[in-house]
Amino acid sequence: MSVVLVAMPFALVNIPSIQIGTMASVLARAGIDARPLSLHLAFAQHLTRAGLDLGDYGQLAYGPEALVEWVFAAPPLRPPTPAADAAYLARLREVEDPALVDLAARARAEVPAFLDQWTEEILARAPRVVGFTTTFVQTIPALALAHRIKARAPDVKIVLGGGNCDGPMGEALHRTYPFVDVVVRGDAERVAPPLFADLLAGRPVGGYPGVCARAGDRAHVRPQEAGALPAMEEVPLPDYDEYFARLEESGLEDVLGPIVEIPFESARGCWWGERSHCMFCGLNGTSMKYRSKSAERTAGELIALSRRHRHLKFRAVDNIIDLGYIEALLPRLTASGWDLALFYETKANLKKPQLRAMRAAGLRRIQPGLETLSTPIARLMRKGVTALQNIRLLKWAAELGIDLTWNLIYGIPGEPIEEYARMAALAPRLSHLTRPNLCLLSLERFSPYHRDPEAHGLEILGAGGGRNPNVYPGADEATLAELAHTFRYRHAAGRPPPDSYIGPLREAIDAWAERRTAGASLRHARGPGFLVITDQRYGARGATYTLDEPEASIYLACDAGATPAQIVERLARRDVAVHADDVRELLDQLAAEGLVYEEQGKYLALSTAQTVRDTDASADDDTCADDDAAGLIQLGARRAG
């Protein structure tokens, strides 16, 4: 065998690795025999044999990097240091769930046998090159296995790639760990075929963009080049056969089978980030430029993967959906008649017809970039959305049966503290919608905050995540900072720590979660000449609100958010005359009842429709268009300022 491509723990075990699957196809296309190896799945299997279960693996996969990567920071990569480990775990127990720390220690005890087993199994395949993908918490697991392979078979070339190798991180990995022969930084589709051909032929590695290689004792680091980014049409269909075969043989299929999600990739970069880089976001590394596959190509790949693996659940790894897909891709999927279930990350200012098209095509789960319920804070983040738009998306998703997950990020530099009391007061009114995960700002490499921390009142204290001497051996503070993707930081002096003022919001979100679980709802139903809104958001006491005409039409005209003047105009088209002051007075009363959200003179109805209709006159695009314009004006003003 020529090349083995390895995905290490703690990649999610119900998802095949798109990184090694894609690279296997890239190399196969170039005539190079490369076999993927899903060792994340193999390690989960290994743990179950040791008395742990898949839930334990999942907990670790979602655990803090400082703990999770430590699991694989085992000898000989990191010399045995029982006293230091005990002290490290004691410190972690003070800030993390002690049960999770104990679980990590137990999993770690299984690591040496796992590494021994897979060193032998990989070498039994007689590879010339072993490649590892490194994303999130895979770096130390990859280094641990690579170190053993190199120690046993020095002629085998070790190649690292993936998200954790981008930019200076890759160069630091290459410099610090000499058993790593080559690090590929950035997109690898173009450089991999000639690079692997060089390695297989035993030639010196050519000067490929972004590649760190060695010639004798000397390291050669070629800069990453924007022009080297592959077009998405160059990215082939991933090869997942090995994952599914391993799953079938693992004895874990009865649990994992129903929750397997096939990752697919239709775009890289971020079209919004090209216009306005969200201040906290480091997701796109060195390549923000947005590139997407044609709708025809994406539809064809989804159907090909579905047919090959007899599977319908898919997860886009894109950072943001190509809005062109709503007209070009989704109708193809809808017309196919197949019950695909898709996940995509989206921007938050989607319009109702766009969401309808998504639902019809099987796009049942989304992760929109909401991040806050405060317009001033959204502006600081450069999200290009308002709180009203965010709430509207939550409402429409609930109405249309689209599940979503979203984060509410706090600790944004310069955020108005009083906005947290406002959000805490707002939260109960949204109990019928999906609650957020409350997250402290993570300072990520490649984000504008990281690029210029001082300008935003941030002071970087050092490497974050798992980049510390207890996990990464042989790296001093400066090197750890180069290896890091996230950083420890503090806000400028004089500013209260964020955790000191978000207590009421945290409590409100906890209560939100409880009410939502208990079935909180706020629905409206249309009758002949009237509208009934049934409010069951607050537990034992509910209320019905009955609106006759034209009040019912006024309320429904607020589906997308509208000003009184817009409502007057809309009703006038139906020969219904109302006065803007009367409309405002009515909507202010409804806002006081928590049925309407008001922001800057615009009113948004909060209830979901009892019956979802294909054509909904209340969801006129004109008010949405106003929102978009407002968002851009805000951005323009900020840029100009």
């Binding site: 537990g539 009955t546 609106l547 020969d575 005359a577 109302v578 009842e593």
Partner: protein, 48 residues
């Protein structure tokens, strides 16, 4: 059509009942209710 005067709405509060309470009131398919109806229902004529 022209509406004059203040725009209004009507509000009525209600108690949110759990399914068991609701079934007891509506006489639905709650197993306890069916059992009671078949044995203890005072309106049911005694079986001969």
């Amino acid at each position: 059509m022209k509406k004059t005067g203040k725009l209004t709405f009507q509000k009525k509060e209600f108690r949110v009942l759990d399914p068991h309470q609701l079934s007891r009131i509506k006489g639905g398919d709650d197993p306890d209710m069916i059992l009671k109806g078949s044995i203890d229902d005072p309106l049911r004529p005694p079986q001969k």
